[in-house]
């Protein structure tokens, strides 16, 4: 069975500082990994994904994520946080031929002005 862990319920960062939202995974076979963002009272939006290839994946709104196979991690990063980045972030995984995603519990990111 696959699982995704987001060890931090809440991350606070000052505007302009770099941010990291952590994710670790457990997937049989080669993992497909994803980040989604949810703004208040909205559905989730796809940010980026890792399927194969370069370990550093770039996505929407200046976000990127680093795949680390040895640490089974897929942390979300941004070099300079904006107040508008404040939202709920979800990591998700998909194993092999599965059609469905497994989501983590979410991390609330707050960027302080």
């Amino acid at each position: 069975a696959q699982s995704v862990a987001q060890p931090e319920d809440q991350v606070n960062v000052a505007e302009g500082n770099p941010l990291t939202v952590k994710c670790t995974y457990s997937v049989s076979g080669n993992p497909y990994l994803f980040w989604y963002v949810q703004y208040p009272n909205r559905g989730l939006q796809f940010l980026l994904k890792y399927i194969t290839g370069d370990n550093l994946v770039k996505g929407s709104y200046g976000f990127e994520a680093e795949f680390n196979k040895s640490q089974t991690s897929f942390h979300l990063k941004k070099p300079s946080a904006l107040v508008s980045d404040s939202a709920l972030y979800f990591c998700a995984s998909k194993g092999g031929s599965a059609r469905q995603l497994t989501f983590g519990s979410g991390t609330q990111l707050t960027v302080l002005p």
Partner: protein, 113 residues
């Protein structure tokens, strides 16, 4: 623009009532999903469908059923609502050619009294 529309943003129902949550997508996607979102638990998959009249159980199907009579429409049914089904329900769709890139509706917040 891609769109997934959930018929009701907010519903209040009584214990024992039958509840229908409707979801329509305009992207001709084969795959459709129903998740429920609860604080601290992330998104949990209830049911999904990869073709008309096809359905598969997700992680928490108990107390729910689904219907997919047309490709664009995927309905979630609570036969007899209970208070522990108070939650945010999210519908999503995806194409099998873009693995894991889900498009979400804005959610239906159900309160069962």
């Amino acid at each position: 623009d891609v769109k997934v529309t959930q018929s009701s943003r907010y519903l209040v129902k009584r214990t024992g009532e039958k509840v229908f949550l409707e979801c329509v997508q305009d992207m001709d996607h084969e795959n459709m999903f129903w998740y429920r979102q609860d604080p601290g638990l992330g998104l949990r998959l209830i049911y999904f469908s990869y073709d008309v009249k096809m359905k598969e159980k997700g992680d928490i199907p108990e107390g729910y059923s689904v219907s997919r009579e047309k490709k664009e429409r995927f309905s979630l049914i609570l036969e007899s609502a209970s208070t522990n089904q108070t939650s945010m329900y999210l519908c999503a769709s995806s194409s099998p050619t873009r693995a894991g890139e889900l498009f979400f509706g804005e959610g239906s917040r159900l309160t069962v009294l």
